[in-house]
Symmetry: D2
Subunit: 389 residues, 4 copies
């Protein structure tokens, strides 16, 4: 097996990175994800804006000295000028830099793989969308990694194929507990910037993980949110952003749903869960046990579909590496985004059309996420008024 994600090595993609230096979390995840199926070669980076730290981080990771930068704009220019310059860049900075960095590399003709959310305002996100509309040759992949889990691909395909009938209810949740106390006051780097409006934007919990829940709900159901009513709460004294979020959803077409996301729900690590109910069947999935998908056809016993096992279909199989019963996890899901993006980039490189089965979140998901954050913040500030996206 180790099927689906071909290792066929038709020339690795030269990859750079902005952000992700020592002490960061998500940068190393991106590097590992890029490496997993051997489609990328990591060759350049502005891993920190602090030159010393950028140097130390780059050297630790084996970058050539002349490809270690501390200024992303300089990096974009220098790499674009090299014959062996990077073909794609991974952006893993705090939120406020996502859009400026993306713009710099897009201007330099370099593909972008960007972490979420897309900056700190919807306006800013839309400006990138406008820019990208003019750059049809550039790939923009957005790492809503959860949507690349095999069983989520399967779930989306099942909904699209109609086995659930008309979708009626979509329940999404993403509880964590790591901000139960005022961790940001301890100097912990992740907590520090995530609770700071300057670097995180107007949403705290809603931006950091609420967007994942929103994207997953829409990705699987094939629906988009028409309007929402939200209640953002901050439980930890002195915190500047929300740490618990309730949202009621009205989807276009009449489905209803809700999102609950929290960073103070003690006992939850990364408890994202999605449940979709239609007139003919239901689906349930949990991020912490991602190799399982519960499917209930109405009036029949529940079925447990396993990744790669009986009942698992082509959309799951193509992003599956090992046989059923051998669990895959978060990194494999994340790597699927990189591998799908690699297929798109290689198609561009070869002047070919992208394979129709290739899929990864892009600018539309990114803009929708910012619209979701802003609608939540706005609704909550208006005492939960239903607010259009």
């Amino acid at each position: 097996m180790v099927k689906g994600t071909s290792e066929k090595n038709t020339g690795r993609i030269r990859l750079g990175m902005v952000g992700g230096g020592q002490g960061a979390f998500i940068g190393a995840v991106h590097r590992l994800a890029a490496r997993m199926d051997d489609h990328y070669e990591f060759v350049a980076g502005a891993l920190s804006a602090d030159p010393k730290k950028a140097k130390a981080s780059g050297e630790e990771l084996g970058l050539a000295k002349d490809r270690i930068y501390s200024d992303y704009a300089e990096m974009a220019k220098a790499e674009a000028a090299r014959a062996d310059g990077i073909e794609a860049v991974a952006i893993v900075t705090p939120n406020h830099l996502h859009v400026p960095v993306a713009k710099a590399f897009i201007a330099a003709g370099i593909h972008v793989i960007c972490d979420k959310p897309l900056g700190i305002s919807l306006k800013e996100a839309k400006s990138l969308e406008t820019l990208l509309a003019k750059k049809k040759d550039l790939i923009f992949a957005f790492t809503h990694n959860y949507s690349a889990y095999p069983m989520i691909r399967q779930a989306k395909d099942m909904v699209a194929s109609g086995v659930l009938g008309d979708i009626r209810v979509v329940q999404a949740e993403y509880p964590q507990d790591w901000l139960t106390t005022a961790l940001e006051k301890s100097g912990q780097k992740q907590a520090d910037w995530r609770t700071d409006p300057e670097r995180s934007g107007a949403g705290g919990c809603v931006g950091d993980i609420g967007t994942h829940a929103h994207q997953l709900a829409c990705f699987v159901s094939g629906l988009s949110v028409e309007e929402l009513a939200a209640e953002l709460t901050t439980f930890v004294k002195g915190r500047a952003l929300d740490d618990n979020v309730q949202v009621m959803l009205r989807f276009k077409g009449g489905a209803r749903g809700s999102i609950w996301t929290s960073q103070v729900a003690v006992g939850n690590e990364n408890g994202m869960k999605l449940r979709v109910y239609g007139s003919k069947g239901g689906l349930e999935w949990k991020q912490e046990d991602p190799n399982y998908l519960w499917y209930t056809p109405y009036g029949e016993p529940k079925r447990l579909i396993t990744r790669g096992g009986a009942g698992s279909m082509a959309p799951a199989a193509r992003v599956t590496r090992v046989p059923p019963g051998h669990p895959e996890g978060y990194l494999e899901g994340f790597a699927n985004i990189y591998t799908e993006a690699a297929r798109a980039i290689k198609a561009k490189r070869a002047g070919k059309k992208q394979d129709k089965d290739v899929q990864f979140p892009g600018i539309a998901d990114a803009v929708a996420g910012m619209a979701f954050i802003e609608a939540c913040v706005k609704s909550s500030s208006k005492n939960g008024r239903w607010t259009k996206l």
Copy 2:
């Protein structure tokens, strides 16, 4: 073992029933619950308003001929007049009769054990509350049976003792799928009256099971809902009442929460779930696996407390019958209400004060449930406006 629920037989309580004839569901549950710990003797009934059906039902259950009634008012009078008349009555009719029947028996000086919700309007419920305030010698037990599961008693006790710290978030849900199709059009008796506003009241799903979720959330957390924003939806064409309900909750004191309840969530049987998160710990419990209570002290591994097992405390032990690892279920939980009510009734009979550990839902829970239904219906009709209870 078989501890907690003493079988000590100090004279069974003579019990009557209104409703619960052939074809009914909950009447037989009440009878079994009454029988379980041997505190009651079932001796009289107006099991149906239809005299033929009342007779057939009563005979099948072994009632003496002269104690089979079809008119509850007549039954109340006749039983009150007998030296061996019933001491308590179980009311298991459709909702619209709960209050009139209760009043008749209270007027006759007979204790009442009543199914939920308490009638079809808050006004009606309050009128009973007013009546009961003048009848201090009469017991009124309300069968919010889920609150009598041992691990729910334990959960309430843990919250009250402070091990969870300040309660911040309470998430309750109760999904079912039995009304996914227009079952009421098939003539199914349960579906028929539950979707009929005349007999069910203004709430469908919200009244039938939303009230259970609301009561459980409040019972365990020790909090009450200050205001709520609700979205009631009817998915099945032609249905007169809601079949899917989203509610956002603001509790007195600042906690937040939500209730989701549905009768069209395919794959769910009676999936009630409660999650309570405080500043120091969290609890999780599911009705379908009621012998387990998850408890997470912040910063420590999750613990699985089992009914009667290590970590299970006195409040659970007193309503536990068999050793840990031997599951108890729905009927045992239901029976706990009857047994606790029996203790209260026997105390009255003996002129003694009720033991301080005896607890069962009463008129306050019943009225709060009606207030919850009305607030949900009102909020939803005002496009989700926050509405005080």
Copy 3:
């Protein structure tokens, strides 16, 4: 619902009990089980051999003074002589008295419901079998209660109907941890007699719970054990009987399997589990979550069949009381034995043939259990030699 187990009250069966006085465990379980579906009336007992304790126990349970005995032989005679004497007796003493008591009541023409195992030797068990062979009018029910769980009935029916194909492997286990320490030295009553060869027989753990695993494996698979190889171990110093048991099984017809049972497996309460695999499908069931049955048809996704839910069939439905999603437990399973036995007893009373669907464990199961114990003890004493049953 509350279907299956009819409450139809065509005259309760008058029931007596031997054993089960104050401080006992299983006696109260039997009484509750008898009461659950209202088929029995508990009217007489020799609840203890100690007259004082017998009296106190009987009075606490509301027995008439003249029907409280301390000598079971006297009770058998006296009750047989009364016009309103008991029709059936429940035997809930320590093991060594099971056979003598059963014989006394059988001689008196009284039906017997007996706890397991059947005494302390195979020889003794067979002597009762011989006696019963001559008393065709008497019912002998043996409380292998686990075999009366609805999903176990369903499992048996599925195997019998051939959906699993030829049975190949049967894995049974029953781990507990309550004898991890030398509890018997503390004077705990249950531990005391269960670890005493005089009252328990030659098997400790193997007799107390191994017999349940053996009976369940055979009941569901429809197979019988041809020979076995066993390893009995005693881990707690000073204990006279085994507390951990490994058995390899060869079934008639070629299937293989194993039983593991332990009283020192820390973290297990009553973790009985049964797994049956055939050429076309597999089944899995756990006592602690008895409302679920996993069924996997080969090459298809696993299915979770719930008690009373879709996929649950008639054999489960007839011993089911409440709708799916409302859990039933140990007591309901136990009560099913009493209710099925009541149907058989009432058929005898009415001179009718027993309904073909009525089933409960009887003398054959009881004798097979003793044969299992003796074969295990013998095999283990011969260094694990394969031993025929």
Copy 4:
């Protein structure tokens, strides 16, 4: 995070591979595992003995033409002769070639990472052990990958630290269902060689997966098997090797246990499970949900320790990449073997002593596995006689 497994790139190890060409399964797993933490560079291979297939496979994977071989002996020599020759070789052939290939590379002074089991006879395995004893400078890593799951490292550490007390019972099982039918007759490559004694050795199921269960039981408990009694069965007609295995175990020091492993247990994918019980506590772990470890201190509630979460300790943390709640899987566990071996190889390269925390299975595990297989086959052929290892 992405801690533990440092990415520090102090010069990748040049890696070759024997076996693992097109159509193989485990070769791709090894390559991915080697790549995950960026410690290796895959540069040469004899991916097939068939020159055409070797060429096609090597080219697909981007190997230089002059480093694609079809003869492993030639490869060993040629690579040893190059200045940039491989430093380590991964052996992923069918079983019968494991030892000859290993010997060839060891003779050439190249480190070996070898799949299991170690050949087809204990004698052959021991001959390699003898050879390695003379080659202290060469690393031999054996991919019992399950032992490198973080929670297994944690479990081993907990047992070693004494929190479980004296180990009494070790229950291991590894059921699969992929050989339920005569798949080998369909030409499926994996089934073909695994059921062929010439290429698999004398054990079928017992060698393929029984060895994993045996190694895991010993690795975690810290015990070794003194003697065993086994029953090997072949259920599928015409199959040459066992497909279901029962083993009773006596460990040195008095602990008892069992292993059940099957390839015909319908509904099981890779259901390896380990349970260890001591005088003070118990542990339970399942391969399919590897991020969870159940720990029960005697007399306290069960605790669910999650990978990286509270209660998870240093031995788990050092082989953990992402935060708790973000699942890791089979590939990450497999990669841990490669990463630990890389640390050992880099230490050799640097002339340094291997860090004391580095651990991976080696020749002793490999030889013990062959001894286990041979003892099982022998015991079974002697009608289950207890047989020393």
